[in-house]
Symmetry: C2
């Protein structure tokens, strides 16, 4: 959508992922990240009209620039107050002070292949993040080359937490980055599982990256700061709102090759994350559980509807998420019951043996009623397979043969 009445003279070419961002663009993006929620339609309309972040921010501050329809003047007032009281340099400084950074399209760390698909077209659809605040030693671009999102309910059971932790441990051990949301329950278990093997894990949060939320995950936040990565669209100091959680979910889905939900009741916020993953045409997986467990109900519903692939092991997750030809899950090794391989007549011959004693050829032919040549033909392979053994007076069942 372009705004025909907008002045085109101020426009600079929109920065592409290929060319480095200008300092003006970075500052404008920081300003917009503070002013707007990620999927605000007013921001979408302004960016569509002015074509770049810096032109948009300049137009908001310049009272002579027209605003697109449905963008209220109060945004202009708010922008001017923000520019005066909290210019974007302050957010970037605050980020730097705690060792964080603000990355934008064009930066080497910006995973454009992951995030660009969020620009789904309609202005009411979730937008590509205007920028991302990062905190932690992982490089976002590198860490998202192989990444799996593990999500689920905060009200998880021991089962769900064990599964989330085990999957994360095993996937991290196979060089997958674990993406989750730092919440209680499944999220926390996933991060911990990755750390258990010194793996890479990313928490996408709805607050500023310096806000401890939830409070009980302070230790996990500290660990992410020192060994992982915290990602957020909001500047330092920002609190959580419901809207920010919903917007955050789309970033989780976007940063990962695939998303797996471990436990989810039918109302869980994880449903929203899966919806975003499907919109992005990324694989969605769900873990089954006891059918009488409310926190598995949502997973079963996704599987039954064909909206999610059922996965029962980390290697299956990797197979679904992986590139074709890599990461193939081993089928569970089923040591075949040797009897499964026996033809009916061999089973019939085994049934003809006395339980404890030996039997000669005549007795076996008589008891099995198989042709004599059939009995003669079957005895050597049954002996070799360990079902019968030679004994005085013919053959007898081995322990395996009696089993």
């Amino acid at each position: 959508m372009t705004l025909a009445t907008a002045p085109m003279t101020d426009q600079e070419p929109p920065p592409s992922a290929a060319e480095p961002a200008s300092e003006a663009d970075r500052l404008a993006r920081a300003a917009l990240a503070r002013l707007f929620e990620a999927d605000d339609m007013a921001m979408g309309r302004l960016l569509d009209a002015y074509g770049s972040a810096s032109a948009t921010w300049a137009a908001l501050l310049d009272t002579s620039s027209p605003l697109p329809p449905k963008v209220t003047e109060s945004w202009r007032t708010a922008a001017r107050v923000q520019q005066k009281e909290h210019p974007p340099e302050r957010d970037l400084d605050a980020a730097r002070r705690v060792g964080g950074r603000f990355v934008v399209p064009g930066d080497a760390e910006w995973p454009d292949d992951r995030l660009a698909p969020l620009a789904l077209g309609a202005p009411s659809e979730p937008h590509v993040p205007i920028g991302l605040y990062l905190r932690g030693p992982l490089n976002l671009f590198e860490a998202t080359r192989r990444a799996i999102a593990i999500v689920g309910t905060r009200a998880s059971t021991d089962y769900g937490e064990t599964v989330a932790c085990d999957f994360a441990t095993s996937l991290a051990d196979h060089d997958w980055t674990i993406v989750s949301g730092l919440a209680y329950g499944v999220d926390g278990a996933a991060h911990k599982g990755a750390f258990a093997v010194g793996g890479s894990t990313i928490a996408v949060v709805a607050t500023g990256f310096d806000v401890t939320y939830p409070a009980g995950h302070k230790h996990l936040l500290d660990r992410l700061v020192s060994d992982g990565l915290i990602v957020t669209e909001k500047p330092p100091g920002t609190g959580a709102t419901r809207l920010r959680f919903l917007n955050r979910n789309r970033v989780i889905a976007a940063l990962a090759d695939a998303t797996v939900v471990v436990e989810m009741d039918v109302r869980s916020g994880a449903r929203n994350t899966l919806k975003h993953a499907r919109r992005l045409r990324r694989p969605v997986m769900a873990v089954p559980g006891p059918i009488d467990s409310p926190t598995s109900l949502g997973c079963h519903l996704e599987i039954r509807r064909g909206d999610a692939v059922m996965v029962t092991s980390a290697s299956e997750v990797a197979e679904v998420a992986g590139r074709i030809g890599e990461d193939l899950a081993a089928e569970p090794v089923v040591p075949p019951d040797p009897r499964d391989l026996l033809p009916t007549q061999a089973l019939q011959l085994l049934d003809a043996f006395p339980a404890q004693r030996s039997a000669d050829l005549d007795a076996l032919v008589e008891a099995s009623r198989l042709p004599r040549e059939e009995v003669e033909r079957l005895l050597p392979p049954l002996t070799q397979a360990g079902f019968v053994e030679p004994a005085s007076g013919g053959h007898r069942l081995t322990e395996q043969g009696r089993a």
Copy 2:
């Protein structure tokens, strides 16, 4: 397969399901049921050659009749000994003495539509039962008009037994007959679940119907004799062999519209039952469970391979087993979170409210940065939906709005 060298003069037309069985046919079938195991190739070759049970039995007893290739003379010896020492009348008498009966094709109680598909063509494939010994008040034909087989491992968990029992109870309550195998574990739980609501249940066993196997299920056997039905291919007094269990499984699958496995390790005999159900092109279902439970592993494998449909409730089982248009499973009722229905701007407006105080229109426009007319437009529906309420000085959040 027909035997060109066989004498055709003795042949009578094979009894069809439509015409009543002759007494000679019934006696010959009883004799063959005692002499042969259900899927014995020698019996298959004899029946193919002589065309009817009575002609087959007569040919076995008459030393001047040629035997088909690969059918050993020892069958003839065994048949003559059996005819002398244990003529079929004795089995039919023994069955009647305990209140049982022997039904054959052509009898009103013979469920030909269920069993005839077992004649799959190749002589090495499982055959249609030569006859069935029945004991119990249920009518086999009537009881198999709507029938579901519930099968699984003997080494079931509490979870599996609860599921098997609950499914059987609910299905029996909706006029489905439960078919299973009287074994410990899932089988026993299924029969008990059906009895819990006075439902119909059929046990297909590998022994004679007067043999208590397994010993711990004597009470269940007694209950089936008085209120259900025991079905077997073998005459009274017959013990169990491995081969008979395998043959029994095909009858379980054949008598039911569909088969559901509740718990199964990767080696469970229930796999064999599912294989028969698939051969018969009857729906196969599996119940998920905890991914770390070995007795759910086999179920998950069937689902993952696409060999079984995942089911998580009795109504889903009925839907899969049911005739089109009947027995539709209700989707789990998900009471929608009212917020799920709100557009982004409404969420934005709710986020703009102070937590406890009321706010007037100006404050809301300022805080939400939505156009004034948008705020005015959104307040009435948000009030009606119970998120906000009028208060002195404007509107404030309700408890639901703060949630």
